[in-house]
Symmetry: C3
Subunit: 210 residues, 3 copies
């Protein structure tokens, strides 16, 4: 049984991801269009990839609410950002936390849409993790930075955990909204711990050169 994902949660995820795009544009000193552009690709990139992989048109083709949210946030950040002037370090932290919230929300939203397609539960988890991370990858590649997905923090892992919790609960008959909120909470909690305690997974020793 697949769940009911509240639209307001989806909009929140779109908005916080859009904010991370706009904050990246601020760090790069871009113009208003750059703010709107980075906000939009980050905010709707993951959901668009999800739709395309499921073989359907992007959801914003008929309903432009999500891109509109992103453009408004991009423009507002350009115009108002200076009022909340903060050091680069503070700005980076806000970006990290907003990104973590978006990550958890999209992991569950992506898995939910995939389950309802329908698709295999394992695929739903993979698709959830991809929905959650793709917008940020495009944001980082376009801005010329190392994708956050490849830094050694617990990132994809948190998205995969959130999607797994949701899929397991939804497949067990737990009501959709409960399963969705549990998945978002689990994913965000792991990501929050990773951010605040600098957790990381063990890494592979680099190959000797030559």
């Amino acid at each position: 049984m697949t769940g009911y994902f509240p639209p307001v949660l989806e909009w929140t995820g779109v908005a916080v991801f859009a904010l991370t795009g706009a904050l990246t544009a601020a760090r790069k000193g871009m113009d208003p269009l750059g703010f709107m552009l980075l906000a939009t690709v980050t905010g709707v990139g993951g959901g668009t990839l999800r739709d395309v992989l499921l073989g359907r048109p992007a959801s914003w083709i008929v309903d432009p609410t999500n891109p509109l949210i992103c453009m408004v946030i991009g423009l507002a950040t350009f115009m108002l950002g200076r009022r909340f002037a903060a050091s680069g370090k503070t700005r980076f932290r806000v970006l990290m936390w907003a990104d973590g919230a978006g990550l958890a929300i999209f992991a569950v939203s992506g898995a939910e849409t995939a389950l309802a397609a329908p698709s295999h539960p394992l695929t739903a988890i993979v698709l959830g993790a991809m929905t959650a991370t793709f917008g940020g990858v495009v944001r980082d590649v376009l801005a010329g930075e190392v994708p956050m997905i490849l830094r050694r923090e617990i990132y994809v892992t948190a998205a995969a955990l959130g999607a797994s919790v949701y899929v397991t609960l939804a497949q067990s008959g737990v009501p959709g909204a409960t399963a969705a909120l549990s998945g978002v909470a689990a994913g965000f909690a792991l990501r929050a711990l990773a951010i605040s305690r600098d957790w990381s997974l063990p890494s592979y020793p680099r190959a000797p050169q030559g």
Copy 2:
């Protein structure tokens, strides 16, 4: 009422974008396959993204005319390019103007296809701007350069203007070909002014480091 976009205009857009890909390959000293590859991804990348986002197969799956145009231009540039040997600066200017023409054509062509899908008028403008800029983004990323889309010149803005003029006129009942040519003219005029007068939008002051 959506418009009639002349195929010859679409082929022209494909050809000039393919030329920008081939000229980039020349600047990087690539081999013939590299010329054909960069010409093709630049020439058909935008239209392909448009089709995929609309949930349909890429248009060249059944009709390979566009990729063929690109490959011929890529190969011809490799073989004949040396005859028109020019300084790097001149070559860069030719690239900028050809890119501007392709930008204006694809902005309108993308918006027209989206309107006919059908999709929301605002979505049609966004999709027009994406169709116009995506081929160049892939070209620049593959060639290891900063995407032109993120330089502080008026670029996406010109594409968005062209698409907006077309969508507004077409929705107001103006005949399709008139609306299309007006949109292309408006987009190219703004881009041309930006290139020749070094216009740019105001930018955000870079965040202090630390």
Copy 3:
């Protein structure tokens, strides 16, 4: 008449490409998730692009066998890779040969799927070459390396040869399995010669700066 492509050949292509992703993760010193992620995008990236361009859902939406193969290979490489400790040079060579095998297999597999869609024979060759090279492009871009596709070795050329041999034979009525194996052999042979003899196509003289 289109051919019958043995599933075990497709799985082999997925597995060797996944291995190239995992070996890249090892060279970058990533964590287990990074290994699984790079293995998966490299292993299923090409086939996914093929499906999306043909306007259908990614094949792994309903059957997660391929991503599962990739994740297992990514995790196994992380856990067991140290046992087969080798110099960076040896590791790079293994990666080159595995990549060449995956290239030849996917060129034919992509062309076969495209022909069966159905699509134009020329499109099938282009799509075969794209299926063969896209996973590696994503792997290299995510890992911050210059895409192998743009180095001046015979790479796309080998994929295009394999796809062309397959399409020509299959269109001439040769049984599918024979056509497929001939295409794979031709593509791999050319790539192997290019690797072992450092073959490359003639390149364009770089433009003078300024």
